[in-house]
Symmetry: D2
Subunit: 350 residues, 4 copies
């Protein structure tokens, strides 16, 4: 089998065989529509086990839906949501949080390697014009785990940011499109980096980790989920044949597969980072904690890699020529080695 | 195999084997995300063939998303959308059209058997306060085909309503959640009851007709689709692994399968209607043009049918006790006959 | 002075001299902007006295703003607001409630003479699909006092409707654009037909009763007013020179002037109704409880009255030719008599 | 008369006698409501004369309403509006632009002294992700004239920014809450710094320049104003007694009074700046082009000025202790000199 040099994104991969089988297995007979089916009933229990606490779970099909709907439950229309300046919700969702929240404002915060700095968050909140009618009012903080720069927040870092938020009455959302990759990297429990650290709502990602299309909005604070059913429906995100969403998520959780898949993707990224940085002229823009490698490369190399068949994104939010390479459950060591080999040959040919 | 007495809805059925196979077939290797894949590229051509005209097609996963997004492209926030009082967009979407349009108003019109009457539409439009700043301004008409009462609009009826709308500058949307059932019933071409009759945008339903979750928003007027990409994305309805949506729709269209499946569902509904109305005390509330039977039954029969294992909805929008029975691609003649038999036995036992 | 035959609306009148003087009196020196001025500070006390209870008051400049902002505090975006089918919020505000609520749905209820019938409200609420995710959820009832048909709700009628709403957890809004006229007609206290009867928020009208432009949103339940400051500001309804709004309202309340003005308008309407109905061929479409007369007239009379200089609206929501005549603080008995005389002469000339 | 040391804002001043008289003069007899009156009819002609071109004018009562409504006519919900990071629309309107636009995103740009830098705008637009569905799409630029830092854009500077915007298809809005002060400072014609330079819509400020509450949304491109009537109404910003808004604006324009008033305010600010900077330890944070002085002062002086009766804002968006002092039509030379004297005495007393 020829090497696959497509490192454009983890969502360029298909679904795992286990996910596909689960969908096929769920396709027998009729089932009550809109979530009143057996698979969805089992889902809440499975997530409660995973997170070691009582939760409310709502399957949706896209990460943007999960994020925007979750945030809409945390902020009034006149609220402010604090996030990293490169957060997916801020730059890659075409205004979905604004739509679902009725016009709340995202406040972008800087921070090295994709992480919001505690001091930066504190400073922003302290200067926020609390109680002044001219200003949007601080309502929520959104953290991305794995961050958009491919790094993790440790449990302590999450707890510190949540502490700052909670002390001021803000809710905390975690965009976990790559939650599995972060967890596989950190080696802690799901609870440790979510509700135990202060997170109220998690967008639990499935699609980037081997699902066809499945995410779960997980509320650790049931009070905040009170009207989520209606929010999801009016967003057009209530699936009639919900069993097929729930079956995907159940298949992921079963036997810890989701962490195995993410762990594999992470290992492939580490292998890729090691191989590339062993070459002259290639360095890392960010630590590689999960399944994303940001490699600073000689500008001439970019086209040469593409000519050699490699697929990836040139990263716009970086100093100097930087390419983003993403691995997935489906990435093989051969694929990684082939890309490293290609880079080596094109560098030497320069 | 035991008879399946679940007639609650066509979305209680699973997916057809052909749809599942197509998803599995699409699951090989990587593919560009967000619609830049081969399956999606083929989709526009397939729909253009089907509708015999140039079109723009946007796959989404739910009918509510298809409808609300389509309408948002046709009305300003201060616009009015005219629809039947029992239209799905008016009563079953929890305000999705209002969310996506930014607050446009749905104007409910009466009409026998789920169809908007031409005179009723004309009267409503004539009294609409055109150009008066105090009033929302007429922007669009939405027709449901198959209607919520299980009836069809003929091509002439569609054309008449579209004519009234077009003469006054309104756009026309068709909610085709059961478009296949209507078409299988009418025996005309897809073009005849859409753009040739004056429809601008169609919500082409797949989910109720054997897909896992796949609908297509079809624009016959490309100008109106100009910013649909952004609307879809900010609604959270852009799938990263779009190929799996497109593959479902392609599998449906291939060789006219979608009409075969809908035709089967219709035949089962006809068989059911015939069988039930042959019994004393059961009559039809509406003509059975597609795959939905509204049966007026003795009140005592309702619980007896349920005790016998039948699953269905008691219909709230009817005079006298009325049950709704929906068939699908998966309904077998044995299922239908078993329900008729159950009704017969419980009626006689009364 | 020639008779003024303009009975088009009470907002066609200017401001009372007392209101104008109060504005001029407030125009000395600087004052803290945005409501931190002395006039606004006095306003809350004045309204608390008037309503014999603790309240929160927010001046705005238009009735549409008052209504839409008030409702936005009572309903989530997925909520339903029940109102009369001819309610100003439903037909004359171009979708303002939808804008401010983020897309909530107005449910129109029928009822004779502009009043929502208790049974109609109960029926609508009982069939509302409570807790079902496909349906918008009942959130509020809005009553108009004086109604759009010129009638009053008695305190008992208000209490009955509020009781139905409250028993089901809904909040109650009162559109009091002509609250003064209703109160002058009923002869009860402001408290009796508002919070004592169950009203949570009142749009207290000033503009139609002699102000330049001044309304007050009055919250009897302070909890519901928690974020109203932000809602008002983001709607662009926070006046920097708030003293000029507050001064108008204070001038109205002073010495009960507002009720005197409304009482005068009501008396003029009664005189007009008496005079017109004494003529052959003119009857009343609705009881005249306040300052609005709906007169059923021979169709030929309409143009003749206009030819004679009368200004009024032909009413679209009526059976048979019906004209609406509105009186105000500024209407003189001579104006009324002149109109009656004109009608008499044109009828006899027919 | 004692000196008035309130330099908190130009909206702390009342109205000019001329404005008050005009309102009183307009208060005779009845007038057609909602803008169909003589004053409003004259307004469009008066503004057309002033701007030497055909225009559409819409009076509203607040600057936030003017800005948010104007922007809503220029951007779709998925659009981006570029503005200075300290722009009123971005930081002082509690999300009004987001409400009225249906969730569009404000993109903040840096720039010295409150002015957007041409290069900064170009850079932001070049990197905007045009045509990429994940990103909001550039729709408009908003300039503030006088800027929030009290400086002007010259006609050339406006033209340069408009050129950059127009070359890329963006519309241009000007927030002219202090347009009069800018114009009085620049000495050019209103046309020169608006439509001739490329501005499409102007929020023409009246309230800060001697009106009770009156602004005008001025469209130089009538096509963009097509549905503004409805937008204004559904925002609750349509005044029934519109004549009182229009009369204020007419009184301002008459005989160029508005420029006289603004010129006076500017002269007072210049006098204040001169006096303060003659003192040791006080410097200007920004050039004083209009009626706002940003003075860098010794930190100890701030409380001492307040103890002496001075009223002003400590400015949060500045390096080091900076106070904002605003003059108005009502500021007298004695007031200015008194403040300078107070500062001198408190500095020397330090």
């Amino acid at each position: 089998m020829a090497a696959n040099l497509d490192f454009s994104s983890d969502n360029a991969a298909g679904a795992t065989p286990e996910v596909l089988s689960a969908v096929a297995d769920a396709n027998h007979g009729t089932a009550m529509a809109y979530g009143a089916d057996d698979w969805t009933a089992r889902l809440e229990a499975a997530f409660a086990d995973l997170f070691e606490t009582d939760i409310a779970v709502f399957p949706v099909a896209t990460g943007t839906a999960a994020n925007a709907l979750a945030l809409s439950a945390l902020t009034p229309p006149h609220g402010a949501v604090y996030c990293h300046e490169f957060a997916h919700i801020a730059v890659d969702e075409c205004g979905a949080p604004e739509l679902y929240s009725g016009g709340a404002k995202l406040i972008s915060l800087t921070g090295a390697h994709g992480r919001i700095g505690a001091g930066t968050l504190e400073g922003a909140l302290d200067g926020a014009g609390w109680g002044v009618q001219h200003h949007v009012q601080p309502a929520a903080v959104s953290l991305t785990q794995l961050t958009e720069d491919g790094t993790v927040y440790t449990a302590d870092q999450v707890a510190e940011l949540c502490g700052i938020a909670k002390a001021r009455g803000l809710a905390v959302h975690m965009d976990g499109a790559r939650f599995a990759n972060a967890l596989a990297s950190l080696g802690c429990t799901p609870a440790d980096i979510t509700w135990r650290a202060g997170v109220d709502v998690l967008s639990f990602g499935g699609t980037k980790n081997g699902a066809l299309a499945a995410e779960a909005v997980v509320f650790f604070d049931r009070d905040k989920a009170q009207d989520f059913l209606y929010r999801r429906k009016r967003g057009g995100h209530l699936f009639s044949k919900m069993r097929f969403l729930s079956a995907q998520l159940l298949a992921m959780l079963e036997g810890g597969r989701w962490l195995d898949w993410a762990g594999h993707a992470n290992a492939m990224a580490a292998r890729l980072a090691d191989g590339l940085t062993a070459l002259d002229g290639i360095t890392l823009a960010h630590p590689v904690d999960g399944n994303i490698v940001f490699a600073r490369v000689p500008e001439t190399l970019i086209d040469r890699l593409r000519d050699g068949g490699a697929v990836f994104h040139l990263w716009p939010y970086a100093d100097g020529p930087t390419i983003r390479l993403v691995t997935s459950f489906a990435t093989r060591a051969d694929d990684v080695d082939a890309l490293i080999g290609l880079a080596a040959s094109r560098l030497s040919g320069a």
